[in-house]
Symmetry: C2
Subunit: 187 residues, 2 copies
Amino acid sequence: MPKTKTDKRSRLIQTAVKLTYRHGFRTTSIADIAEAANIPVGNVYYYFKTKDEIGEAIVEQRLLELRTLQEQWDQRGSPKERLLACIENTFENRDLLARGGCPVGTLCSELQKEGGPLAKKATALFTELLGWIEDQFRAIGRGDTSRKLATQLLSSLQGVSVLAHGSGNPELVAMETKRLKDWVGWF
Amino acid sequence: MPKTKTDKRSRLIQTAVKLTYRHGFRTTSIADIAEAANIPVGNVYYYFKTKDEIGEAIVEQRLLELRTLQEQWDQRGSPKERLLACIENTFENRDLLARGGCPVGTLCSELQKEGGPLAKKATALFTELLGWIEDQFRAIGRGDTSRKLATQLLSSLQGVSVLAHGSGNPELVAMETKRLKDWVGWF
DNA sequence: GTCTATACCGAGATAGAC
DNA sequence: GTCTATCTCGGTATAGAC
């Protein structure tokens, strides 16, 4: 039996993550989130003093999700397979990506434009992901160029999400992830 | 001697483009734009009935800028050189890109999240750019895979802008554009 | 065409009863 | 801890004098 407090709080976060992903952080109102989570507006402020605190929670939630994914990928037998799993994940989510862009990329972009403390927080999402990819290339034996290769791979994944989102076309993701899987296969 | 109307209107657009690029479209208020352009708030509504109309003008302005750039690149002697000029342009703007992301990409992302008519308008930016790149690959003699190659190149450029913006690091752009120039060199 | 004053509304945030 | 009512402010947009 979960605690009531935790329950409502996490329900708010889940709802906020979902709604802000679809419509943007600033354009999504606290009232929107509260309503969707079936919680009266005033009560939201019991869990979060300001809207920016909700933003913080959203970033942290995305970080958790990212780490969960990484743990899944880490199950694979070789670093090459781990990279393939990461790319495959992008492929599987192509419809979502075409509708709302990359959850990490679009969130970072928006928060960076705003500036302030949230921007710094969001940076962690990319450093985390880039670091993990770099680790894989190093483990493959490409320690000398691991950073370059990681940048190359993550750029392609991020970029194709931007294109797919901008044009509403998931096929672009399919096309590009297929190529990237072949590319990783060469290592 | 330019007409007063056109003068003020274009001053508003220029200012709007600059401010919204740095801080985002929705978070930039009409008052912000008016003040920066030295025009009283009320007067803005003589030129634009709604804020969304300003958004429309911003997209159109970006389209114009894009076409101007393409015309410059078209001056080059070969399609390969034209692609190199496009990549070089990204490299030269790396500091700007690290601070505010790609003007086209970030604008598209934000407007897509909002949905509505502006989202559709913004799509043109990508189709235009992707089409131009595709043309170059076709001219090189890669008509069979021109679309794939164009997606690959534009994805990398867009993606590295996202990464550079997210981490505030222009070096990523330098690293990736260098690689891309070498890559294009192979064709 | 230009500008001032202002209406209006929705957002974030607070007070305080229960 | 929970919820209702409300405050306040800043934003878009309008009215109307000049």
